[in-house]
Symmetry: C2
Subunit: 110 residues, 2 copies
DNA sequence: AAATCTTACGGGTGACGTAACGATC
DNA sequence: GATCGTTACGTCACCCGTAAGATTT
């Protein structure tokens, strides 16, 4: 299971369409179809019910969807903290107190 | 960014060693080294400081580690709910009330 | 007939193992 | 000298695009 596969599944679940999610991912239908099938095979569960012209979530799919979203959100947050650090907005803040001229007491690291 | 990369990073962070995390992943050192470098390049941040014989987390690495763990935990939970469903332990529970003989009032789906 | 999903095939990218090198303990 | 991390290279699987086919509207 990889994040890319989860993105594909969530897109399909939201669009209820392989064609539309393919456009959303800027790839071709067949790529989405294959990625989704592989994910299902790896998980050992059918997430989407196919009817040659429509796509519906199975019970497993409905159960899996919020978990997939949660995982993607966590991944996004992981990227985010690094961006914040990049911008100097985050890091380890250590405070100090000037005891008297030239002597600074500093909080221990981490 | 993919889950596999996060697993590698967390393993390296926990073991503080590329060699040991390689054994943990049942792959070779060079594979871990390459995977980690690629992750860092993609994120645009150095996560571990290398000193040819040691490995240390950078500030970015320390910041990233709990987020990576959170993401992996979410992924594990996603797999877990499917396993539970597989075992018949979860699903959508719908309740009904027998109004009178042969007439059952059932809660609406989802 | 148009739209949608699937399968088959070829090409490029990524991951891994082997091997050789450099640096540190 | 042994250990640890890196680099170079060949191989194999995976992802994607193209193309053709099947089914539904």
């Amino acid at each position: 299971m990889e994040l890319r596969q989860l993105e594909v599944f969530v897109a399909v679940a939201e669009e209820m369409s392989i064609t539309r999610s393919a456009k959303r991912h800027n790839v071709v239908q067949s790529a989405i179809s294959a990625t989704l099938r592989k994910l299902e095979r790896q998980l050992g569960a059918e997430l989407v019910a196919r009817t040659t012209h429509k796509v519906e979530l199975t019970d497993a799919g409905r159960l899996f969807l919020p978990e997939a979203r949660r995982t993607l959100a966590a991944a996004a947050e992981a990227r985010h903290v690094l961006e914040q650090l990049r911008g100097g907005l985050r890091g380890t803040l250590r405070l100090g107190v000037m005891l008297y001229d030239g002597v600074l007491a500093v909080s221990p690291p981490a």
